[in-house]
Symmetry: C2
DNA sequence: ACAGAAACATACATGCGGTACGTATGTCAA
DNA sequence: TTGACATACGTACCGCATGTATGTTTCTGT
């Protein structure tokens, strides 16, 4: 029974990931020396390279943690809702809520694709946020709400729109206004996918922009 | 009249940007030492830091050159076309064509936001591709083709979708198939913005997906 | 022709990432 | 319990890359 050593490792990893997350979010991956992370975590470089192989490995762990959190936040927001359009509205809002945290924007949206490479980023994303969107779209097609089409492709493109919306909001001077406008724009865009957008608009009063 | 010196500088800058462009495209900004760029360009670090201040400055120059090329390519493809929906279709196709070149994908779409920071990236983008999209959408609103709404926000989100589509194509095994599917998805998404999508679909036979 | 500036080249300082190696502690089997 | 081994680090060092400071040469205006 190896219990104490396991806990020790976990504690070290948690400290490394936690402080790395904060520092990467504040100044970006490239601008934070590994020395600073390990110093903040109260360990040395040895611990980092033992657990994560290299600096990029640590970043990946941080990214995956953030991905899990965001996806869970979105999943919680849509659970129990039957109406697909409402699910989409709530999911969108929850995602933009999650992206209010600067760490999510800087680490998850800005740095991750460049640091890990787009391919790797996409693979990880497919198991979290992208996977959620794919599931949603497939369900929508099955219910006949949107027209049949290659789901993974559409999902990726929609994710791109979502990410850009979140980045736009994060960089805006007036976050409130930007959030309202961006959320509305995404709603407009996605509502165009519905086979009978007008009907949906009636079902969800105020939910779908009609102006 | 300073003519010879001007030409000399221009030649040096062209060599630096040219080789940097190739190397950055092949292995990414972070993985290419400045030494390698200046060696390929047949100069020394002195020339680089004289003209561009730092390595990031050189990258910025490369990025702006690529942006100009892509935007010009798209602009050429849509000039002379009156029908707005056709303009969008052609612009989309031209953009995806431009993104077939790996340098555009790696430098312009993957590295640039992380290297320059999203804010700076966005400012540069606003004077090129994003600016083009904004102009298009404003014209569309003026003509009553799409509903009035905050254009810069919508443009940015659409750009995000376009970029993700291009990245998806670039990373796909079967580029042909991915290109067809992605282009179609973006068409579907954007066509949802039109106030009377059905009418547009009739005007442009085969152009707008109706399945 | 000469003063100054621009366009580089060279040398150096600094800092960061990765690796090799040492060490202490935990783990399991006999 | 004890010896063999694995795990989890700490330490020291190397190579490399960036940026800067300082020369040196080539132009350019007067």
């Amino acid at each position: 029974m190896r219990r104490r050593q396991e806990e020790r490792s976990q504690a070290t990893r948690a400290a490394l990931v936690g402080h790395a997350r904060r520092l990467f979010a504040e100044r970006g991956y490239a601008a934070v020396p590994a020395d600073e992370v390990v110093a903040a975590a109260g360990v040395t470089r040895g611990a980092l390279y033992h657990h994560y192989g290299d600096k990029q490995g640590l970043f990946r762990a941080v990214f995956e943690e953030i991905e899990r959190e965001v996806t869970e936040q979105v999943a919680e927001a849509i659970v129990g809702e039957d109406d697909l359009w409402q699910v989409m509205l709530r999911g969108l809002a929850a995602f933009l809520d999650a992206c209010e945290r600067p760490e999510v924007v800087r680490i998850g949206l800005t740095d991750a694709p460049a640091v890990l490479g787009w391919q790797t980023w996409r693979e990880i994303e497919a198991e979290h946020g992208l996977g959620l969107i794919i599931a949603l779209l497939e369900r929508a097609i099955n219910e006949g709400v949107i027209a049949p089409q290659p789901v993974p492709v559409l999902a990726q493109i929609v994710l791109g729109a979502l990410i850009e919306a979140a980045l736009l909001i994060a960089a805006a001077e007036d976050r409130q206004a930007a959030r309202a406008a961006a959320e509305r724009s995404v709603q407009t865009l996605v509502s165009g996918l519905l086979v009978d957008s007008a009907a949906r608009g009636a079902e969800a009063p105020g939910g779908r922009p009609t102006q």
